[in-house]
């Protein structure tokens, strides 16, 4: 691995995960530096989502170790809570709370988890809505927004918790082409601020421009990883070459 300079904020060691008798992760070992942007790609069903969902314990790994921001993920409930408050996550389906306004979506966890006062939380929410470019939507309900706007609210909702790490699981896959751009721009801006990002995405433009490293998953394992220049120019593994030829031909 090229990250010998040791300030890893996520460390995974031989992580294994089974669903029943189906093994979704077959020993994943990698680490992510603070401020690094890692893009995870791979064929459908290769375990990309499972991998990043293990990082904030939405899935529980059965073997191996995961250490996030110096806290090891065990079945200790306190550790899980601490890690979740350091890690933000953005989903393919946005998962905004439909019964709450945009403002309430962004302030809910600030008030109840971060214990901020309502006025502080609202101030923070407005600042973030400003940052993702939709301050005028604060009073609306998610159902009244476009997909792109909803995803930007979801990003603002995660950022409001001041996470050290942001996880993205195919954040643009449910969006129309013109909305993909507005979400990618927000992610790019975020990467520029030095946020640690692990993103599953098939937006190769984004991967090429923004990522520090690209990780290819296949059958629950990391097949190949490296900086985008190398990864795209001369992939070493035949599996990588095949995958790249498939997605780049579209």
């Amino acid at each position: 691995m090229e990250n010998g300079a040791a300030n890893p904020i996520i460390v995974c060691e031989n992580v294994k995960k089974w669903f029943g008798d189906f093994q979704a992760l077959r020993g994943v070992t990698t680490s992510v530096e603070e401020g690094e942007v890692v893009v995870v790609i791979g064929p459908s069903g290769s375990g990309k989502s499972t991998f990043i969902r293990c990082i904030n314990r939405l899935e529980q790994h059965q073997e191996g170790r995961i250490v996030v921001a110096g806290i090891e993920l065990t079945s200790d409930v306190r550790n899980i809570e601490r890690i979740r408050s350091e890690v933000g996550m953005v989903f393919q389906q946005f998962n905004l709370f439909p019964h709450l306004t945009v403002m309430q979506n962004i302030t809910l966890a600030q008030v109840w988890v971060r214990k901020r006062s309502r006025s502080d939380a609202e101030e923070r929410a407005m600042a973030l809505l400003e940052r993702v470019g939709i301050p005028e939507q604060a009073a609306k309900y998610p159902g009244q927004l476009s997909g792109g706007q909803q995803q930007r609210v979801a990003i603002a909702r995660s950022l409001a918790m001041d996470p050290k790490i942001m996880l993205f699981d195919e954040p643009t896959s449910a969006l129309d082409p013109e909305m993909i751009k507005e979400v990618l721009e927000v992610m790019q801006e975020l990467a520029g601020t030095g946020m640690t990002i692990v993103a599953v995405t098939h937006e190769m433009g984004f991967a090429r421009e923004v990522a520090n490293r690209i990780v290819l998953f296949d059958e629950g394992q990391i097949v190949e990883e490296g900086p985008p220049s190398e990864f795209f120019a001369n992939p070493r593994h035949p599996r990588t070459r095949m995958f790249l030829s498939q997605i780049l031909s579209h």
């Binding site: 904030n56 939405l58 996550m89 389906q93 966890a109 901020r116 006062s117 309502r118 006025s119 609306k140």
Partner: protein
């Protein structure tokens, strides 16, 4: 046709092909059809009844019915009205306590069925599957049978299992209970004030918590405020007796105003309501671009609303008796309240009564000194409560499952705890799905209380049946039943619809 000048507007179709006319004709036709059918049916029924010597008089409400009821406010009612009143209150006792208990049990079982605790979810499944597959009548009889055979026989010296507190026997379970006394209403005025203060305190502390982000314990503040009023009121309630004068004054002034004044005011109100409906309707059809084009339907609705308003006003003016009945009832209620308050009347508002046994005839009976649950009440209450709870459990489970998994994942990813997630994210959304079928279950439970007749529980149907066995006034009793159950059902529906509308999601 061809050599006619070209008209500016298209030719009007003949009347029988004119869609507007046809629609109007249909609406008016249906209205008159319903009215005509109704009057024919009623007229025919009246004529037949007269021919058979049956009369639709309401003497049964005022005559002494000569019946005895198993339990309730008037065990030996002196008028039919008292008998029905007793039946209605008994029915409401079962229905209201049953609705509360079934909701609580159903919610717990429904959540337990989704629990990751194997034992809890298995037990909940057994509860649901067994109870909802046994006819409710069988369950009612079962619980009644259990209570009236497994418990010890009542002896003259029975007092157990906890003497003075709890008495269990085949004639019923009786326990010590704080009964309201003569001065209860005076204290009650303090309790109402306490509730209002508690609500105010809760809201103020809540707002403070939200503004400053500190823990302000709104629940504890509200409780303290309420308790303070309750304690002060316990001693100071003779002063609240002064409220009686207010009621007296109101009752006197209600009686002093001539009926014609009420008639005119109510008639104007009826006209105003019609006008307001039309006004609001037009407002709702108005967009920033101006008034939308109204359809024939819209016109019909507005005319109907206007006609109803005017018709109501006309009826009120032509039938002074209707208004008079209304004012009499209000006056009666005010006088009733007046009696509950008396300045400086003292005495404890509550007094604890303990269960005891009396022997009025040859057999010992539970005396009225404690709060007694008879085997009949137990049977009907347990039967309808558990039966309905098993359906409510399924509704709650379905409601929670209807919330997409992504919602909990998003909540967990934000660091919410399980309880917070359930309370603030899952349940509010599940509630939208749960509410309408929950209302149906409440309606079912209310109507199922009529099975009380199977275990001799004197609710509406049992009382009514006893009444028409005595008097032969079957039609009157059936009309009373229908009016009673219909009003209860409508009340529940209105409440549920109100909450339903308040919890709808806002969509594009």
């Amino acid at each position: 046709m061809a050599n006619r000048p070209i008209l500016a507007s298209p030719k009007r179709p003949p009347l029988w092909r004119n869609a507007t006319f046809l629609k109007w004709a249909a609406q008016i036709g249906v209205l008159f059809g319903v009215l005509a059918l109704g009057s024919v049916l009623v007229g025919e029924a009246m004529a037949n009844m007269r021919a058979q010597g049956l009369s639709l008089d309401w003497d049964l409400l005022t005559d002494p019915p000569g019946i005895q009821l198993g339990e309730g406010i008037f065990i030996k009612p002196s008028t039919g009205l008292e008998a029905f009143y007793t039946g209605a209150v008994n029915m409401l006792r079962v229905a209201l306590s049953g609705i509360v208990a079934a909701t609580v049990v159903g919610a717990i079982v429904g959540i337990a069925r989704l629990s990751s605790n194997w034992l809890a979810s298995r037990l909940a499944t057994v509860f649901v599957e067994s109870l909802r597959n046994i006819p409710v009548l069988v369950q009612v009889v079962f619980w009644f049978f259990l209570a009236s055979t497994l418990f010890p026989v009542l002896e003259e010296d029975s007092s157990g299992p906890i003497p003075g507190v709890l008495l269990v026997s085949r004639k019923g379970v009786s326990f010590a209970w704080p009964f309201p006394q003569e001065t209860f209403w005076q204290w009650g005025a303090f309790l109402v004030a306490g509730l209002l203060t508690a609500r105010w305190a809760y809201r103020t502390r809540m707002r403070r918590a939200e503004a400053l982000g500190e823990a302000t314990r709104p629940g504890r503040w509200a409780l303290m405020a309420f308790l303070a009023w309750a304690i002060v009121g316990w001693f100071a309630h003779p002063l609240a007796g002064a409220i009686g004068w207010l009621f007296m004054l109101l009752a006197a002034s209600v009686g002093a105003i001539p009926v014609l004044v009420y008639q005119v005011v109510l008639a104007l109100a009826s006209l105003y309501l019609g006008w307001r409906w039309i006004h609001r309707f037009l407002e709702s059809r108005r967009s920033p671009a101006g008034l939308a084009k109204l359809t024939d339907d819209d016109y019909f609705r507005m005319i109907l609303a206007g006609a109803l308003g005017a018709g109501g006003a006309a009826v009120l003016m032509l039938l002074p008796a209707a208004t008079e009945v209304g004012t009499n009832v209000i006056q009666y209620l005010l006088e009733f309240c007046d009696q509950k308050f008396e300045f400086l009347r003292s005495g404890a508002p509550l007094a604890i009564g303990s269960p005891s046994v009396e022997v009025p005839g040859r057999f010992p009976q539970i005396a009225g000194t404690g709060l007694t649950m008879t085997p009949s009440f137990f049977g009907i209450w347990m039967g309808v409560t558990l039966y309905t709870a098993s359906f409510i459990a399924e509704i709650v489970r379905g409601g929670i499952l209807s919330v997409p998994k992504g919602q909990s994942e998003a909540g967990y990813a934000l660091g919410l705890r399980r309880g917070q997630l359930l309370r603030m994210v899952i349940l509010p959304q599940a509630f939208r799905v749960i509410l309408p079928p929950l209302g149906n279950q409440y309606l079912n439970l209310s109507k199922n209380t009529s099975l009380g007749i199977a275990v001799a529980f004197p609710e509406m149907v049992q009382v009514g049946q006893t009444m028409f066995n005595q008097t032969g006034d079957t039609i009157q009793v059936i009309l009373i039943w229908m009016a009673f159950y219909l009003s209860i059902s409508l009340l529940i529906s209105v409440l549920i619809n109100y909450y339903n509308r308040r919890t709808q999601l806002v969509e594009r």
